[in-house]
């Protein structure tokens, strides 16, 4: 299974539910397109729910970083929600865990946006 992305609005926060594999090719480009589209539409508060992501490779990590940078440069915030152990481990060994604002509870994550 490749990646599936579903976007929903909770107040002024855009939540992107991501499921499947974020890998080079279809998976990472779908995530990139979704985030760029949101930035184009001036969404400032974006929460990426990675709870159903089964696999992410270095290209997928690159897309997370790219999305973070694009949203931040546009004056917005991109936060991560529900990382499984593998994704958490990957972000830890690449020292990105502290770069992202990571949450385990959606309601708390929504409240954390300024």
């Amino acid at each position: 299974m490749s990646v599936k992305l579903n976007t929903r609005q909770v107040g002024d926060v855009s939540v992107v539910d991501v499921a499947g594999r974020i890998t080079l090719g279809e998976g990472s480009s779908a995530l990139r397109d979704t985030l760029r589209d949101m930035v184009t539409k001036d969404h400032k508060k974006i929460l990426l729910n990675l709870g159903e992501v089964s696999y992410i490779d270095s290209s997928g990590i690159g897309e997370l970083v790219s999305g973070f940078t694009t949203v931040t440069n546009n004056g917005g915030e991109l936060k991560l929600l529900n990382l499984n152990k593998r994704v958490k481990d990957l972000l830890s060994i690449t020292k990105l865990y502290t770069v992202f604002d990571v949450h385990e509870d959606e309601a708390a994550a929504i409240r954390s946006f300024a």
Binding site: S58, G62, V65, T94
Partner: protein
């Protein structure tokens, strides 16, 4: 669980489908060799990253170039070899992806992940062109 020697060899097209195939073959063989779930993930990802390097950076998706791929499980050593036909690049002078100035780079983590996940990582230049990487995971940790 099976521990007798096993060797798989394939000549793969320079496509992203080959990346998936190689990962599946390696993970299946590693599973038969007796690796646990965490190691299967590490081996799978190391093979995926190496295949991406061969297909994308080495052979540049050329339909005229192949990726030679082999998996061998012998004497507690699980070995994967991946060879492309590209011009090659300098593995010894890659930017450190953990350096603060590189943390927000969108690429450059593949080799770091391979080295993190495998027990051995060897690179050999091929003549007249190409690069062969050898990935080794020990079935019993050092």
């Amino acid at each position: 669980m099976r521990h007798e020697p096993e060797i798989v060899e394939r000549s793969l097209d320079s496509t992203l489908e080959s990346v998936d195939s190689a990962e599946e073959i390696a993970v299946s063989a590693a599973q038969r060799a007796g690796f646990d779930e965490d190691d299967l993930m590490r081996i799978g990802m190391a093979v995926r990253e190496s295949m991406v390097n061969a297909v994308v950076h080495g052979n540049r998706y050329s339909e005229h170039k192949k990726v030679r791929f082999s998996v061998a499980n012998r004497a507690q050593r699980f070995t994967v070899r991946i060879a492309d036909e590209g011009a090659g690049f300098d593995f010894d002078h890659l930017p450190d992806p953990l350096a603060p100035e590189n943390l927000l780079r969108t690429s450059g983590r593949g080799i770091f992940l391979i080295r993190s996940f495998m027990d051995e990582f060897l690179v050999r230049r091929l003549e007249p062109s190409g690069t062969e990487v050898t990935l080794v995971k020990y079935l019993v940790s050092k």
